[in-house]
Structure formats: C-alpha cells, structure tokens
Amino acid sequence: MNLSKSARWGLTAITGIVLVFIYFPLLVVLINSFNASKVFSWPPTSWTTQWWSKAATNEGVRSALLTSVKAGIGATLIAIVLGSMVAFAVARYDFFGRDSISFLVILPIALPGIITGIALNASFSTVLVPLGISFGLFTVILGHATFCIVVVFNNVVARLRRTGSSLEEAAMDLGAGPFQTFRDVTFPAVRSALVAGALLAFALSFDEIVVTSFTAGPGVETLPQWIFNNLFRPNQGPIINAVAAALLIAFIAPVYLAMRMSDGPSRVVQVGAEP
C-alpha cells in the first residue's frame, strides 16, 4: 500500500530497532556458546569451541531432543484430530452451547501453565495412577495436547468460516457423499490451515516446561527439562548455549518450508491462492 516516505522510513526504523531488541539476547547466547567461562561471565575473556563439541557428543541432549520430538508429534496429532473436529462442529453447525465450546477450547491456553499443570497432576495421580498408568511420556502428551487443541481449532475454524460452505454444497448437489466431499473439497481447503496450526502446536509443545514438569515421570526428559537440569549443574551451563544456537539454525529451514506450505505466515489466506 502507499505510505508517505517519512512514514515508511519511520516504520522501517522501528522495525529495525525491534528486530535488534529480539536478536540481541540471541546474539549473547551465541557469543556465550564460545565463552570459556563456565558461568556466562561477561565480557568473555577467553574463547573455546569445547561447548559445541561437548554438545555434539552429548547423549543426554540427543535423547532429550528425541523425547521432545515424540511428545510434540504425539500432542500435535491429537490436537489436529480434536481441534479440527471441534472446528467443523462450530463452523458448520448451529447448536446450543456453541459459544461455550469455543470458550472451553481456549481455556487451557488462557489459564497459566502452572494451573493446568497442577490440575492435571492432581487428576492423573487420583485417576490414572491407581489404574496402573504411571507418569511418563504418555502423560506429557496428554498435558501438551490439552493446550495445543486451541491453535489447531483457531486456524481451522477461521479457514472454514472464510471458505463458507458453498463449495461443499455444490459437491453434495453433484452427488458426493460426506466422506467424498470431505476428501475432495473440504480437506484441500483446510490443509494449509492445518499445517499452520500443527506447526504452532508443535512449537508450543516443544518449548513447554511448566506443564511438562508436573506431568512427566522419572526417566522422561524433554529438551527444556534437560536444559533446566543442566543449568543447575556446575560446569555444564554453557553447553546449553551451543544447543540453543544449533536448534535455532536447524529450525529455520523447516519453519520456512512449513510457512510456504501453509501458503503464508498467518492462518488467514485466500482459498484462491492455494498453490
């Protein structure tokens, strides 16, 4: 759109400043990953690459990464299924209590993680543990899925509202049954919204520490928990800077690809622009 030159310059300048604000601490992380001091002391007086080589050979970080990916995928899959089910119900049907449902879906993410964590912990130990199901990766996935449903729901419901139901009606009129309509019309229309929702759900799960700490059993260590535990070990702190820097770099490509697939960085995209 057209803006005056000064407005354009002003906005660009502010954007630049905010980006510096965002990236400066990450730069500190990167610099500290080469800082020879064990306690992040500043300014660094000597340099080392030992944290990177230690991170590369550390088995704990690899198994924690694997646990986090498993938890993230598990939670995301559940969130995709449940989130899109609610989204279809809310967008395509009118029924008593519809508003309350949107409210209910949002609650787990709107309430602070510590509350979700305590509540799930209390109910798991009163219900699941007596049944012989102990705390483990499974309970972490249950916990994460609970607050991930909302992001899938919001992406899909926005898409469904935007596309309306006329295409589906047309398919039905032309003789397609609900399953065929879903497969050939509805699903392609919401596919990119699902990808965006799934990405966000995975991201939420991947960086979660509070709910995780209340729902994980012994021997289950997600990456944030590994980082947490290592920060509290002498001599081990700086290794996490190397891990964090490596993760950032490793995630740029998949995030970018996922955004391309979802046809835009935000969930709101015209159907006509589907690739």
């Binding site: 005056s4 954007t15 905010v18 980006l19 965002i22 601490p25 992040f40 500043w42 300014p43 299924v81 449940l82 989130g83 089910m85 609610v86 279809f88 119900a89 049907y93 009118d94 029924f95 008593f96 209910l104 879906v105 949002i106 609650l107 993410i109 309430l111 602070p112 993680g113 510590i114 509350i115 979700t116 305590i118 209390a122 109910s123 249950l142 609970t146 419901v157 926005a158 039905m172 003789g175 049954g177 609900p178 399953f179 960086d207 520490i209 209340f214 990456l223 944030p224 980082i227 996490i240 891990v243 964090a244 993760l247 950032l248 995630f251 740029i252 995030v255 955004m259 835009g264 960085p265």
Partner: protein, 303 residues
Amino acid sequence: MSALATEPMTSPPSGGSSSGSAFLYRHPRLRLTGLLTAPMLWLGVLYLGSLAIMLVAAFWSTDEFTGQLIKQPTLKNFHTLLTGQVYWVVALRTLGIAVAVTVIDMILAVPIAFTAAKVVKSRGLRYALVIAVTMPLWAGYLVKGYAMETMFINNGVIDWMLAPLGLKGPGLGIPATIFSLAYLWLPYMILPIYAGLERLPDSLIEASSDLGASAGKTFRGVILPMIVPSLIAGSIFTFSLTLGDYIMVKIVGGTTQMFANIIYDNVGVANNLPLAAAAAVFPITVIVIYLLAVRRSGALDNL
C-alpha cells in the same frame, strides 16, 4: 445440543457414496455428536474434571508433618490467603507487572506487524520478517532467560555497554523481570496483530488517506479499531503467561516474588496442594473474568 438451521444440504446424494456415508448424511445430529464426543471428553471431562479436582483440594488441608492430604472441608486456606497482607501485595505487584508487560509488547508489536503486513511488498521479504519474529520461540525459554540474566546482572552485558557513558543498568529486580517477560512473550503479541492487519483491506486505509486523514489519524481512526480484537488476543497470551510465570522472576527478579511463586512454592516445594489450589483461584478468576469481558469482541477467534 441440537443441530438446527444452518444445515445447507437439501437434496440427498444421488449415488456413488457408501451406505454409511449416506446414513450420516441423513442424520446431521449424529454427525455433530460424532464430531463433538471425543473433544468434549477431552476438554470437558479430562480438563475441566482436573480443574475441579484441583479446586476441591483447595478446601482440604495437609498434615503439617507428613504432608498427607486431610480430606475434610475447611476454609482455612482461603482465610490464610485473604488475611495475609503479603498475598495482596504480591497479587497487586503481579497484576502491575502483567499490565506493564502487555503494554510494552503492544507498543513494540504494532509497528513491526504493520510493516510486515502492509509496508513490505515482496512476499519473500514478508515471510522472512514474520519468520524472523517467530524464530526466537525456538531458542527455548530457559536459554533466553539465562541470556537475560547475563545481560542484567551486575557487571553484565548492559552494565558493560553503559559503562563508557558513565551509566549503570537497573540490575536484577522488577524492571529486569518486566523487560525479560516482555521479550519472551513478544512473538505471541506480534502474530495475532499481524493476522488482524493482513485481513484488513488496504483499500480501507487508502480511502482514509485519500479523504485527507493524516497518517496518525488513519491509525487512530481506522487501523486501531480494526485490530482491537487482535490486541486483546495478544494480551490474553501476555497476561496469562505473566500471571503464571515463576521461573523467570527467579532468574532475573533478584528478591522479587510473583504470584505464581506462591503457588509453585506451595505445591512444587512445600507439598501443600490445598493452599496452592486456593491461591490458584486468583489467576483463574482474573483470566476467566477477562475472557468473559472480551468474548463479544471476537478476540477469542484471534488467538
């Protein structure tokens, strides 16, 4: 629950579909039930049930010595919380920090979201900008937290940078906590605003300036009212995340306590689930009232 009204399909399928499919077609209510059963079991039973179990515990007490739950109803926990001055002080402090964090994030987020959604012309650059804003989410909460400590601590990065000017940073404490939380939650504010702005047709803004409105007036009169739901959506994140945070304040807060510390110290440390559950009523109330208040604004669709 009843399925009504908006059922669009009027003619039966003329063939090519399975019998199950046709059956479902003829029974929209059944379809709705099918769609809602699993999610409602999860959210309505698992989640609300868990919250209920926790809230019931707020009326119990623990054996002071062995820490076993005593499941006899009592209002003792609420009495302790309501009469202890310290709890009020901490609650108000926490609300203040949450408001400050939210305001800072709004101020920072609007210009960058506007630039990404409306100023940048090339699609590639727009993606790059949004990715640049969301990337820090992948760096990990704790890693960023300790980066903040390195920055704010005495003789840390900020002191080191200010030293040539003869100045000193604020050190660890409430300002460092506000800054760090604002930093951590910023992407959660930028994304909904970006989405809201992207939806906003350019023509509306252009019409406003064609009609002679200044940039400032266009912003206040046209853009701001349209992105209010997005701002509220972002504020739900910043507010709720701040109310629930107890780790960052331990890292950069010096001697500061926030409300979630009271909850955590009781449940995670002192093993007093009942008192923690009673304390949890405060953030739950604040958030639920806020959600109900903004429900009509459409903000909840923007999360």
